[in-house]
Protein backbone atom coordinates (compact mmCIF):
# COMPACT_ATOMS: atom_id res chain seq x y z
CA UNK A 1 0.00 0.00 0.00
CA UNK A 2 1.25 3.45 -0.98
CA UNK A 3 1.49 5.81 1.98
CA UNK A 4 3.27 8.94 2.99
CA UNK A 5 4.95 8.86 6.36
CA UNK A 6 4.21 11.74 8.66
CA UNK A 7 5.19 12.42 12.24
CA UNK A 8 1.72 11.77 13.60
CA UNK A 9 0.53 9.13 11.19
CA UNK A 10 0.87 7.42 7.87
CA UNK A 11 -1.25 9.04 5.19
CA UNK A 12 -3.01 7.46 2.28
CA UNK A 13 -4.00 9.14 -0.97
CA UNK A 14 -7.45 9.51 -2.48
CA UNK A 15 -7.24 10.33 -6.17
CA UNK A 16 -9.82 10.95 -8.85
CA UNK A 17 -9.22 11.98 -12.46
CA UNK A 18 -11.28 14.12 -14.79
CA UNK A 19 -10.14 13.47 -18.31
CA UNK A 20 -11.26 15.54 -21.30
CA UNK A 21 -11.10 13.63 -24.55
CA UNK A 22 -11.56 15.46 -27.83
CA UNK A 23 -13.97 13.45 -29.92
CA UNK A 24 -12.85 12.25 -33.33
CA UNK A 25 -15.42 13.70 -35.72
CA UNK A 26 -15.34 15.68 -38.93
CA UNK A 27 -17.49 18.57 -37.71
CA UNK A 28 -17.91 20.27 -34.36
CA UNK A 29 -20.48 19.10 -31.84
CA UNK A 30 -23.02 21.90 -32.41
CA UNK A 31 -21.96 23.44 -35.70
CA UNK A 32 -20.91 22.48 -39.20
CA UNK A 33 -17.39 23.88 -38.91
CA UNK A 34 -14.46 21.49 -39.17
CA UNK A 35 -13.13 19.94 -35.96
CA UNK A 36 -9.72 19.43 -37.51
CA UNK A 37 -6.65 20.55 -35.55
CA UNK A 38 -4.02 22.94 -36.84
CA UNK A 39 -5.80 25.23 -39.30
CA UNK A 40 -5.15 28.94 -39.74
CA UNK A 41 -6.66 30.98 -36.89
CA UNK A 42 -10.42 31.46 -36.94
CA UNK A 43 -10.96 29.60 -40.20
CA UNK A 44 -12.60 26.54 -38.65
CA UNK A 45 -15.22 28.73 -37.06
CA UNK A 46 -18.88 29.25 -37.90
CA UNK A 47 -21.14 32.04 -36.70
CA UNK A 48 -22.48 29.53 -34.17
CA UNK A 49 -19.01 28.88 -32.72
CA UNK A 50 -18.37 32.61 -32.44
CA UNK A 51 -21.79 33.04 -30.78
CA UNK A 52 -23.18 35.69 -33.08
CA UNK A 53 -26.64 37.01 -32.20
CA UNK A 54 -29.44 34.60 -33.01
CA UNK A 55 -27.17 31.63 -33.70
CA UNK A 56 -28.37 28.25 -32.50
CA UNK A 57 -26.69 24.89 -31.80
CA UNK A 58 -27.66 21.71 -33.65
CA UNK A 59 -26.27 18.44 -32.34
CA UNK A 60 -23.82 16.37 -34.42
CA UNK A 61 -24.96 12.73 -34.39
CA UNK A 62 -21.40 11.42 -34.64
CA UNK A 63 -20.56 12.93 -31.25
CA UNK A 64 -23.44 10.98 -29.73
CA UNK A 65 -22.27 7.78 -31.39
CA UNK A 66 -18.67 8.29 -30.25
CA UNK A 67 -19.80 8.97 -26.68
CA UNK A 68 -21.92 5.83 -26.60
CA UNK A 69 -19.07 3.83 -28.08
CA UNK A 70 -16.71 5.12 -25.41
CA UNK A 71 -19.28 4.44 -22.70
CA UNK A 72 -19.54 0.84 -23.85
CA UNK A 73 -15.74 0.59 -23.87
CA UNK A 74 -15.77 1.74 -20.24
CA UNK A 75 -18.22 -1.03 -19.33
CA UNK A 76 -20.68 1.74 -18.49
CA UNK A 77 -24.39 2.25 -18.38
CA UNK A 78 -25.63 4.15 -21.42
CA UNK A 79 -28.38 6.59 -20.48
CA UNK A 80 -31.24 6.47 -22.93
CA UNK A 81 -32.30 9.95 -21.85
CA UNK A 82 -29.70 12.68 -21.68
CA UNK A 83 -29.85 16.43 -21.95
CA UNK A 84 -27.65 19.49 -22.29
CA UNK A 85 -27.11 22.18 -19.71
CA UNK A 86 -25.42 25.54 -19.86
CA UNK A 87 -22.44 26.18 -17.61
CA UNK A 88 -22.25 29.95 -17.33
CA UNK A 89 -18.98 31.84 -16.96
CA UNK A 90 -17.12 34.59 -18.76
CA UNK A 91 -13.87 34.04 -20.57
CA UNK A 92 -12.48 35.45 -23.78
CA UNK A 93 -12.21 32.05 -25.43
CA UNK A 94 -15.79 31.13 -24.48
CA UNK A 95 -17.84 33.20 -26.95
CA UNK A 96 -21.31 32.26 -25.72
CA UNK A 97 -20.51 33.13 -22.13
CA UNK A 98 -21.53 29.58 -21.34
CA UNK A 99 -20.30 26.12 -22.18
CA UNK A 100 -22.89 23.61 -23.35
CA UNK A 101 -22.33 20.55 -21.19
CA UNK A 102 -24.31 17.84 -19.41
CA UNK A 103 -24.60 18.25 -15.66
CA UNK A 104 -27.95 16.76 -14.72
CA UNK A 105 -28.43 14.00 -17.28
CA UNK A 106 -25.11 12.78 -18.77
CA UNK A 107 -25.16 10.41 -21.72
CA UNK A 108 -23.09 7.76 -19.92
CA UNK A 109 -23.36 6.66 -16.30
CA UNK A 110 -21.27 4.41 -14.09
CA UNK A 111 -18.64 2.05 -15.46
CA UNK A 112 -15.10 0.92 -14.70
CA UNK A 113 -11.59 0.48 -16.08
CA UNK A 114 -9.35 -2.46 -15.13
CA UNK A 115 -5.84 -1.44 -14.20
CA UNK A 116 -2.77 -3.51 -13.41
CA UNK A 117 -0.13 -2.25 -11.03
CA UNK A 118 2.64 -3.66 -8.94
CA UNK A 119 0.02 -4.19 -6.24
CA UNK A 120 -2.18 -6.29 -8.47
CA UNK A 121 -5.30 -5.84 -10.61
CA UNK A 122 -8.06 -3.43 -9.67
CA UNK A 123 -11.25 -2.04 -11.13
CA UNK A 124 -11.31 1.75 -10.99
CA UNK A 125 -14.82 3.16 -11.05
CA UNK A 126 -15.96 5.60 -13.73
CA UNK A 127 -18.56 7.98 -12.36
CA UNK A 128 -19.86 9.36 -15.66
CA UNK A 129 -19.04 10.47 -19.16
CA UNK A 130 -20.66 13.62 -20.42
CA UNK A 131 -20.61 15.37 -23.75
CA UNK A 132 -19.65 19.03 -23.96
CA UNK A 133 -18.07 21.63 -26.20
CA UNK A 134 -14.46 22.74 -26.08
CA UNK A 135 -13.41 26.37 -25.67
CA UNK A 136 -11.20 28.38 -27.99
CA UNK A 137 -7.58 29.24 -27.42
CA UNK A 138 -6.01 32.38 -26.00
CA UNK A 139 -2.53 33.29 -27.10
CA UNK A 140 -0.62 35.48 -24.69
CA UNK A 141 2.79 35.86 -26.26
CA UNK A 142 1.98 37.87 -29.37
CA UNK A 143 1.66 41.26 -27.68
CA UNK A 144 2.86 42.78 -24.39
CA UNK A 145 -0.58 43.92 -23.18
CA UNK A 146 -3.03 41.96 -25.33
CA UNK A 147 -4.20 38.41 -25.71
CA UNK A 148 -5.18 37.01 -29.09
CA UNK A 149 -8.20 34.73 -29.46
CA UNK A 150 -8.46 31.84 -31.89
CA UNK A 151 -11.82 30.06 -31.90
CA UNK A 152 -10.87 27.11 -34.10
CA UNK A 153 -11.21 24.76 -31.16
CA UNK A 154 -14.34 26.48 -29.86
CA UNK A 155 -17.18 23.98 -30.17
CA UNK A 156 -15.16 20.85 -30.85
CA UNK A 157 -16.84 17.89 -29.14
CA UNK A 158 -15.38 16.74 -25.84
CA UNK A 159 -16.09 13.74 -23.67
CA UNK A 160 -15.37 14.44 -20.05
CA UNK A 161 -14.72 11.16 -18.27
CA UNK A 162 -14.89 11.46 -14.51
CA UNK A 163 -13.48 8.68 -12.36
CA UNK A 164 -14.57 7.80 -8.88
CA UNK A 165 -12.10 8.72 -6.13
CA UNK A 166 -10.89 5.13 -6.30
CA UNK A 167 -7.19 5.50 -6.89
CA UNK A 168 -4.68 5.27 -4.05
CA UNK A 169 -1.27 5.80 -5.61
CA UNK A 170 0.39 7.82 -8.37
CA UNK A 171 1.13 4.55 -10.13
CA UNK A 172 -2.52 3.56 -10.11
CA UNK A 173 -3.56 6.95 -11.50
CA UNK A 174 -0.92 6.68 -14.20
CA UNK A 175 -2.13 3.21 -15.17
CA UNK A 176 -5.76 4.36 -15.22
CA UNK A 177 -4.83 7.14 -17.60
CA UNK A 178 -2.75 4.81 -19.82
CA UNK A 179 -5.55 2.29 -19.92
CA UNK A 180 -8.18 4.95 -20.67
CA UNK A 181 -6.04 6.25 -23.50
CA UNK A 182 -5.60 2.73 -24.84
CA UNK A 183 -9.37 2.24 -24.80
CA UNK A 184 -10.34 5.46 -26.61
CA UNK A 185 -7.60 4.90 -29.17
CA UNK A 186 -8.72 1.35 -29.78
CA UNK A 187 -12.28 2.58 -30.19
CA UNK A 188 -11.26 5.41 -32.50
CA UNK A 189 -13.19 7.92 -30.42
CA UNK A 190 -10.21 10.09 -29.40
CA UNK A 191 -6.63 10.13 -30.62
CA UNK A 192 -5.39 10.37 -27.03
CA UNK A 193 -2.69 12.81 -27.95
CA UNK A 194 -1.80 14.62 -24.74
CA UNK A 195 0.89 16.76 -26.38
CA UNK A 196 -1.57 18.38 -28.75
CA UNK A 197 -4.17 18.65 -26.02
CA UNK A 198 -6.69 16.28 -27.53
CA UNK A 199 -6.59 14.50 -24.18
CA UNK A 200 -6.30 16.64 -21.05
CA UNK A 201 -6.35 15.69 -17.42
CA UNK A 202 -7.33 17.36 -14.16
CA UNK A 203 -6.42 15.54 -10.97
CA UNK A 204 -8.33 15.60 -7.69
CA UNK A 205 -6.11 14.77 -4.75
CA UNK A 206 -6.79 14.51 -1.05
CA UNK A 207 -5.00 12.69 1.72
CA UNK A 208 -6.25 11.05 4.89
CA UNK A 209 -4.79 9.15 7.79
CA UNK A 210 -4.56 5.46 7.20
CA UNK A 211 -7.70 3.94 8.66
CA UNK A 212 -9.86 7.02 8.17
CA UNK A 213 -12.97 6.52 6.09
CA UNK A 214 -13.92 10.16 5.64
CA UNK A 215 -12.90 12.16 2.60
CA UNK A 216 -11.01 15.30 3.43
CA UNK A 217 -11.18 18.44 1.28
CA UNK A 218 -9.68 17.81 -2.11
CA UNK A 219 -7.53 19.95 -4.33
CA UNK A 220 -8.02 20.03 -8.06
CA UNK A 221 -4.75 20.17 -9.98
CA UNK A 222 -5.40 21.50 -13.46
CA UNK A 223 -4.06 20.65 -16.85
CA UNK A 224 -1.57 17.95 -16.12
CA UNK A 225 -0.68 16.92 -19.60
CA UNK A 226 1.23 13.67 -19.56
CA UNK A 227 1.05 10.44 -17.64
CA UNK A 228 4.38 11.21 -16.04
CA UNK A 229 3.23 14.66 -14.92
CA UNK A 230 0.02 13.21 -13.51
CA UNK A 231 2.06 10.86 -11.33
CA UNK A 232 4.47 13.63 -10.34
CA UNK A 233 1.73 16.14 -9.62
CA UNK A 234 -0.08 13.68 -7.37
CA UNK A 235 3.03 12.90 -5.42
CA UNK A 236 3.97 16.53 -4.97
CA UNK A 237 0.47 17.68 -4.10
CA UNK A 238 -0.12 14.80 -1.66
CA UNK A 239 3.15 15.51 0.11
CA UNK A 240 2.26 19.19 0.31
CA UNK A 241 -1.08 18.34 1.90
CA UNK A 242 0.50 15.95 4.41
CA UNK A 243 2.93 18.65 5.39
CA UNK A 244 0.10 21.15 5.88
CA UNK A 245 -1.82 18.73 8.09
CA UNK A 246 1.25 17.63 10.02
CA UNK A 247 2.00 21.27 10.78
CA UNK A 248 -1.47 21.70 12.20
CA UNK A 249 -2.93 23.45 9.18
CA UNK A 250 -5.92 22.59 7.03
CA UNK A 251 -6.10 21.98 3.32
CA UNK A 252 -8.80 24.03 1.68
CA UNK A 253 -10.69 23.02 -1.40
CA UNK A 254 -9.09 24.93 -4.26
CA UNK A 255 -7.78 24.71 -7.77
CA UNK A 256 -4.03 24.59 -8.24
CA UNK A 257 -1.75 24.52 -11.21
CA UNK A 258 1.08 21.99 -11.59
CA UNK A 259 4.41 23.55 -12.47
CA UNK A 260 6.71 20.77 -13.66
CA UNK A 261 9.69 23.13 -13.97
CA UNK A 262 9.68 23.99 -10.28
CA UNK A 263 8.16 20.71 -9.15
CA UNK A 264 5.36 22.39 -7.25
CA UNK A 265 1.66 23.09 -7.38
CA UNK A 266 0.42 26.63 -6.84
CA UNK A 267 -2.99 28.25 -6.50
CA UNK A 268 -4.60 29.49 -9.72
CA UNK A 269 -5.27 33.20 -9.52
CA UNK A 270 -8.12 33.16 -11.99
CA UNK A 271 -9.97 30.61 -9.90
CA UNK A 272 -9.75 32.56 -6.67
CA UNK A 273 -13.32 33.77 -6.85
CA UNK A 274 -15.45 30.80 -6.07
CA UNK A 275 -17.34 30.08 -9.25
CA UNK A 276 -21.06 29.86 -9.48
CA UNK A 277 -21.73 28.29 -12.85
CA UNK A 278 -25.51 28.62 -12.70
CA UNK A 279 -26.14 25.44 -14.64
CA UNK A 280 -29.58 25.16 -16.22
CA UNK A 281 -31.04 23.12 -19.08
CA UNK A 282 -30.13 24.63 -22.45
CA UNK A 283 -33.45 25.76 -23.97
CA UNK A 284 -31.95 25.74 -27.47
CA UNK A 285 -31.47 21.97 -27.47
CA UNK A 286 -33.79 19.01 -27.11
CA UNK A 287 -33.15 15.92 -25.01
CA UNK A 288 -31.25 13.05 -26.63
CA UNK A 289 -33.30 9.86 -26.63
CA UNK A 290 -31.50 6.63 -27.52
CA UNK A 291 -33.12 3.33 -28.35
CA UNK A 292 -31.95 -0.14 -27.32
CA UNK A 293 -31.49 -1.00 -31.00
CA UNK A 294 -29.16 1.95 -31.48
CA UNK A 295 -27.06 1.03 -28.47
CA UNK A 296 -26.92 -2.64 -29.44
CA UNK A 297 -25.91 -1.78 -32.98
CA UNK A 298 -22.96 0.19 -31.63
CA UNK A 299 -22.10 -2.56 -29.15
CA UNK A 300 -22.00 -5.08 -31.99
CA UNK A 301 -19.62 -2.89 -33.96
CA UNK A 302 -17.09 -2.38 -31.15
CA UNK A 303 -13.54 -3.46 -31.91
CA UNK A 304 -11.70 -5.78 -29.50
CA UNK A 305 -10.65 -3.69 -26.52
CA UNK A 306 -7.21 -3.73 -24.90
CA UNK A 307 -8.27 -5.72 -21.87
CA UNK A 308 -9.92 -8.47 -23.92
CA UNK A 309 -7.04 -8.46 -26.35
CA UNK A 310 -4.57 -8.83 -23.53
CA UNK A 311 -6.40 -11.83 -22.12
CA UNK A 312 -6.50 -13.40 -25.55
CA UNK A 313 -2.76 -12.87 -26.09
CA UNK A 314 -2.10 -14.75 -22.86
CA UNK A 315 -4.54 -17.59 -23.34
CA UNK A 316 -4.31 -18.11 -27.10
CA UNK A 317 -0.83 -16.94 -28.01
CA UNK A 318 0.90 -18.01 -24.83
CA UNK A 319 2.45 -14.60 -24.13
CA UNK A 320 3.34 -13.58 -20.61
CA UNK A 321 1.01 -11.16 -18.79
CA UNK A 322 3.66 -8.48 -19.03
CA UNK A 323 4.23 -8.90 -22.76
CA UNK A 324 0.51 -8.99 -23.45
CA UNK A 325 0.03 -5.83 -21.40
CA UNK A 326 2.76 -3.92 -23.20
CA UNK A 327 1.59 -5.01 -26.63
CA UNK A 328 -2.04 -3.97 -25.97
CA UNK A 329 -1.48 -0.60 -24.31
CA UNK A 330 -1.59 1.03 -27.65
CA UNK A 331 -3.84 0.09 -30.53
CA UNK A 332 -1.10 0.84 -33.08
CA UNK A 333 1.29 -1.53 -31.32
CA UNK A 334 -1.18 -4.38 -31.13
CA UNK A 335 -2.11 -3.82 -34.74
CA UNK A 336 1.59 -3.97 -35.69
CA UNK A 337 2.16 -7.04 -33.59
CA UNK A 338 -0.81 -8.88 -35.03
CA UNK A 339 0.27 -8.14 -38.56
CA UNK A 340 3.86 -9.16 -37.90
CA UNK A 341 2.88 -12.44 -36.27
CA UNK A 342 0.89 -13.79 -39.21
CA UNK A 343 2.37 -17.21 -39.89
CA UNK A 344 5.06 -16.77 -37.22
CA UNK A 345 5.63 -17.81 -33.64
CA UNK A 346 3.87 -15.06 -31.63
CA UNK A 347 6.28 -15.29 -28.72
CA UNK A 348 9.30 -14.80 -30.96
CA UNK A 349 7.60 -11.91 -32.74
CA UNK A 350 6.71 -10.38 -29.38
CA UNK A 351 10.37 -10.54 -28.35
CA UNK A 352 11.47 -8.79 -31.51
CA UNK A 353 8.79 -6.11 -31.19
CA UNK A 354 9.50 -5.37 -27.55
CA UNK A 355 13.25 -5.80 -27.89
CA UNK A 356 14.98 -4.64 -31.04
CA UNK A 357 12.06 -2.76 -32.55
CA UNK A 358 11.11 -0.73 -29.45
CA UNK A 359 14.78 -0.15 -28.73
CA UNK A 360 15.35 1.27 -32.16
CA UNK A 361 12.16 3.34 -32.18
CA UNK A 362 12.79 4.83 -28.74
CA UNK A 363 16.35 5.68 -29.62
CA UNK A 364 15.22 7.50 -32.73
CA UNK A 365 12.05 9.11 -31.36
CA UNK A 366 9.80 7.08 -33.61
CA UNK A 367 6.61 5.10 -33.04
CA UNK A 368 5.25 1.92 -34.61
CA UNK A 369 3.09 4.08 -36.88
CA UNK A 370 6.13 5.60 -38.59
CA UNK A 371 8.52 2.71 -38.07
CA UNK A 372 10.88 2.17 -41.04
CA UNK A 373 10.61 -1.55 -40.36
CA UNK A 374 7.14 -2.58 -41.43
CA UNK A 375 5.19 -5.22 -39.53
CA UNK A 376 5.28 -7.46 -42.55
CA UNK A 377 9.07 -7.22 -42.84
CA UNK A 378 9.62 -7.84 -39.16
CA UNK A 379 7.46 -10.97 -39.44
CA UNK A 380 9.48 -12.05 -42.45
CA UNK A 381 12.71 -11.61 -40.49
CA UNK A 382 11.44 -13.88 -37.73
CA UNK A 383 10.46 -16.33 -40.46
CA UNK A 384 13.99 -16.36 -41.87
CA UNK A 385 15.34 -17.34 -38.48
CA UNK A 386 12.71 -20.01 -38.00
CA UNK A 387 13.38 -21.72 -41.31
CA UNK A 388 17.11 -21.68 -40.75
CA UNK A 389 17.91 -19.20 -43.50
CA UNK A 390 19.77 -16.97 -41.10
CA UNK A 391 20.92 -17.24 -37.55
CA UNK A 392 19.60 -15.10 -34.73
CA UNK A 393 22.88 -13.27 -34.64
CA UNK A 394 22.85 -12.42 -38.33
CA UNK A 395 19.22 -11.39 -37.92
CA UNK A 396 20.31 -8.56 -35.62
CA UNK A 397 22.52 -7.21 -38.38
CA UNK A 398 19.74 -7.64 -40.94
CA UNK A 399 17.40 -5.74 -38.63
CA UNK A 400 19.81 -2.80 -38.48
CA UNK A 401 19.93 -2.67 -42.27
CA UNK A 402 16.14 -2.96 -42.47
CA UNK A 403 15.80 -0.02 -40.12
CA UNK A 404 18.15 2.07 -42.23
CA UNK A 405 16.87 1.12 -45.65
CA UNK A 406 13.33 -0.17 -45.12
CA UNK A 407 14.17 -3.10 -47.37
CA UNK A 408 12.72 -6.59 -47.08
CA UNK A 409 14.95 -8.92 -45.04
CA UNK A 410 15.15 -11.58 -47.78
CA UNK A 411 16.50 -8.98 -50.18
CA UNK A 412 19.11 -7.85 -47.67
CA UNK A 413 20.19 -11.44 -46.95
CA UNK A 414 20.51 -12.06 -50.65
CA UNK A 415 22.38 -8.84 -51.44
CA UNK A 416 24.81 -9.19 -48.59
CA UNK A 417 25.25 -12.93 -48.99
CA UNK A 418 24.21 -13.57 -45.43
CA UNK A 419 22.39 -16.77 -46.14
CA UNK A 420 23.19 -19.48 -43.60
CA UNK A 421 25.38 -22.27 -45.05
CA UNK A 422 23.46 -25.53 -45.23
CA UNK A 423 25.56 -27.30 -47.89
CA UNK A 424 26.78 -30.11 -45.62
CA UNK A 425 29.60 -30.99 -48.02
CA UNK A 426 31.09 -27.50 -47.79
CA UNK A 427 30.65 -27.40 -44.04
CA UNK A 428 32.21 -30.82 -43.62
CA UNK A 429 35.17 -29.62 -45.62
CA UNK A 430 35.53 -26.62 -43.40
CA UNK A 431 35.34 -28.78 -40.29
CA UNK A 432 37.93 -31.13 -41.60
CA UNK A 433 40.29 -28.23 -42.21
CA UNK A 434 39.79 -26.89 -38.68
CA UNK A 435 40.19 -30.32 -37.11
CA UNK A 436 43.38 -31.02 -38.97
CA UNK A 437 44.82 -27.67 -38.00
CA UNK A 438 44.10 -28.40 -34.34
CA UNK A 439 45.00 -32.02 -33.88
CA UNK A 440 46.09 -31.39 -30.29
CA UNK A 441 42.62 -30.25 -29.29
CA UNK A 442 41.02 -33.18 -31.13
CA UNK A 443 43.14 -35.47 -29.04
CA UNK A 444 41.99 -33.76 -25.87
CA UNK A 445 38.34 -34.20 -26.84
CA UNK A 446 38.87 -37.79 -27.57
CA UNK A 447 40.46 -38.05 -24.14
CA UNK A 448 37.19 -36.88 -22.68
CA UNK A 449 37.47 -33.06 -22.58
CA UNK A 450 34.02 -32.59 -24.15
CA UNK A 451 33.90 -28.89 -23.37
CA UNK A 452 36.34 -28.16 -26.17
CA UNK A 453 33.56 -28.94 -28.67
CA UNK A 454 32.14 -25.52 -28.02
CA UNK A 455 35.48 -23.98 -28.94
CA UNK A 456 35.38 -25.83 -32.27
CA UNK A 457 31.85 -24.67 -33.00
CA UNK A 458 33.00 -21.13 -32.36
CA UNK A 459 35.87 -21.62 -34.80
CA UNK A 460 33.50 -22.98 -37.43
CA UNK A 461 31.16 -20.03 -37.03
CA UNK A 462 34.04 -17.63 -37.19
CA UNK A 463 35.50 -19.20 -40.28
CA UNK A 464 32.14 -19.18 -42.03
CA UNK A 465 31.36 -15.60 -41.13
CA UNK A 466 28.45 -16.75 -38.97
CA UNK A 467 26.63 -18.21 -41.92
CA UNK A 468 26.57 -21.78 -40.63
CA UNK A 469 23.52 -22.93 -38.76
CA UNK A 470 25.00 -23.68 -35.30
CA UNK A 471 22.87 -26.79 -34.79
CA UNK A 472 24.09 -28.18 -38.07
CA UNK A 473 27.68 -27.34 -37.19
CA UNK A 474 27.35 -29.24 -33.91
CA UNK A 475 25.86 -32.21 -35.61
CA UNK A 476 28.51 -32.39 -38.30
CA UNK A 477 31.30 -31.84 -35.79
CA UNK A 478 30.10 -34.85 -33.78
CA UNK A 479 30.02 -36.88 -36.94
CA UNK A 480 33.58 -35.95 -37.92
CA UNK A 481 34.95 -36.53 -34.44
CA UNK A 482 33.38 -39.97 -34.40
CA UNK A 483 35.06 -40.94 -37.68
Amino acid sequence: MYTIKGNTSDWELVIGLEVHCQIISKAKVFSGASAEFGAEQNTHVSLVDAAFPGMLPVLNEECIRQSVKTGLGLNAKINKYSRFDRKNYFYADLPQGYQISQLYYPIVGEGFIEVHTSEGDRKIGVERLHLEQDAGKSIHDMHPTKSFIDLNRSGVGLMEIVSKPDMRSPEEAGEYLRQLRAIVRALGTCDGNMDEGSMRCDVNVSVRKVGETILRDRVEVKNVNSVRFVMQAIEIEANRQVEVYENGGTVRQETRLFDPNNNETRPMRSKENAHDYRYFPDPDLLPVILTDEYIEEIRASLPELPEAKKKRYVSELGLTDYDAHVLTLDVETSRYFEEAMIGQDPKKVANWVMGDLFGYLNKNGLTVSNSPVSAKNLGALVGLIADGTISGKIAKDVFEIMAETGKEPAVIVEEKGLKQESDTGAIEKLIEEILSANQDKVAEIKAGKDKLKGWFVGQIMKASGGKVNPALANQLLDKKLAE
Binding site: S34, Q41, T43, V45, F148, S270
Partner: protein, 95 residues
Protein backbone atom coordinates in the same frame (compact mmCIF):
# COMPACT_ATOMS: atom_id res chain seq x y z
CA UNK B 1 -36.01 37.06 1.28
CA UNK B 2 -33.85 40.12 1.28
CA UNK B 3 -32.09 40.90 -1.95
CA UNK B 4 -29.75 43.49 -0.52
CA UNK B 5 -26.90 45.55 -1.86
CA UNK B 6 -24.42 42.82 -1.04
CA UNK B 7 -26.41 40.32 -3.08
CA UNK B 8 -26.58 42.80 -5.94
CA UNK B 9 -22.83 43.26 -5.83
CA UNK B 10 -22.25 39.53 -5.94
CA UNK B 11 -24.77 38.90 -8.72
CA UNK B 12 -23.51 41.90 -10.71
CA UNK B 13 -20.00 40.47 -10.54
CA UNK B 14 -21.21 37.10 -11.81
CA UNK B 15 -22.95 38.89 -14.68
CA UNK B 16 -19.92 41.15 -15.30
CA UNK B 17 -21.69 44.39 -14.56
CA UNK B 18 -20.12 47.35 -12.86
CA UNK B 19 -22.69 49.10 -10.73
CA UNK B 20 -22.28 52.34 -8.84
CA UNK B 21 -23.43 52.43 -5.22
CA UNK B 22 -26.44 54.38 -6.31
CA UNK B 23 -27.30 51.77 -8.94
CA UNK B 24 -26.76 48.98 -6.45
CA UNK B 25 -29.21 50.56 -4.09
CA UNK B 26 -31.77 51.14 -6.80
CA UNK B 27 -31.55 47.64 -8.28
CA UNK B 28 -31.47 45.99 -4.88
CA UNK B 29 -34.80 47.58 -4.04
CA UNK B 30 -36.38 46.79 -7.39
CA UNK B 31 -35.20 43.20 -7.63
CA UNK B 32 -36.17 42.62 -4.02
CA UNK B 33 -39.65 43.87 -4.91
CA UNK B 34 -39.85 41.44 -7.83
CA UNK B 35 -38.65 38.56 -5.65
CA UNK B 36 -41.28 39.34 -3.03
CA UNK B 37 -43.89 39.26 -5.74
CA UNK B 38 -42.75 35.89 -7.12
CA UNK B 39 -42.86 34.46 -3.59
CA UNK B 40 -46.49 33.60 -4.34
CA UNK B 41 -45.22 30.56 -6.26
CA UNK B 42 -44.35 28.99 -2.92
CA UNK B 43 -48.06 28.41 -2.32
CA UNK B 44 -48.40 26.11 -5.35
CA UNK B 45 -48.24 22.41 -4.62
CA UNK B 46 -45.67 21.05 -7.07
CA UNK B 47 -45.09 17.67 -5.47
CA UNK B 48 -44.39 15.08 -8.14
CA UNK B 49 -44.58 17.63 -10.95
CA UNK B 50 -41.71 17.34 -13.43
CA UNK B 51 -40.10 20.64 -14.43
CA UNK B 52 -41.11 21.68 -17.93
CA UNK B 53 -37.96 22.43 -19.88
CA UNK B 54 -39.31 22.66 -23.40
CA UNK B 55 -42.78 22.66 -24.91
CA UNK B 56 -41.36 21.03 -28.03
CA UNK B 57 -41.82 17.30 -27.88
CA UNK B 58 -39.87 16.21 -30.93
CA UNK B 59 -36.38 14.80 -30.54
CA UNK B 60 -35.04 14.40 -34.07
CA UNK B 61 -33.04 17.62 -34.24
CA UNK B 62 -29.71 16.18 -35.22
CA UNK B 63 -27.10 16.87 -37.85
CA UNK B 64 -24.98 14.50 -39.91
CA UNK B 65 -21.21 14.67 -39.32
CA UNK B 66 -20.39 16.76 -42.35
CA UNK B 67 -18.33 19.94 -42.57
CA UNK B 68 -20.66 22.58 -43.99
CA UNK B 69 -19.35 25.77 -42.43
CA UNK B 70 -16.22 27.75 -41.64
CA UNK B 71 -13.73 29.67 -43.76
CA UNK B 72 -15.37 32.99 -42.92
CA UNK B 73 -12.56 34.68 -41.01
CA UNK B 74 -13.23 38.05 -42.67
CA UNK B 75 -16.94 37.91 -41.78
CA UNK B 76 -16.07 37.05 -38.19
CA UNK B 77 -13.73 40.02 -37.87
CA UNK B 78 -15.99 42.50 -39.67
CA UNK B 79 -17.71 43.80 -36.52
CA UNK B 80 -14.87 43.21 -34.07
CA UNK B 81 -13.90 46.17 -31.88
CA UNK B 82 -10.29 45.00 -32.07
CA UNK B 83 -8.68 42.32 -34.21
CA UNK B 84 -5.29 41.56 -35.72
CA UNK B 85 -4.04 38.94 -38.17
CA UNK B 86 -7.40 37.17 -38.03
CA UNK B 87 -7.45 36.98 -34.24
CA UNK B 88 -9.82 38.69 -31.86
CA UNK B 89 -7.80 40.90 -29.53
CA UNK B 90 -8.58 41.48 -25.85
CA UNK B 91 -6.75 42.94 -22.85
CA UNK B 92 -4.11 40.50 -21.69
CA UNK B 93 -5.44 37.65 -19.61
CA UNK B 94 -3.22 36.61 -16.73
CA UNK B 95 -2.47 33.21 -15.25
Amino acid sequence: MAFNEETVANVANLARLNLTDEQKQKFAGEVDGILNWVEQLQEVNVDGIEPLVSVTEQTDAIRADVVTDGGIQADLMKNAPESAHGFYVVPKMVE
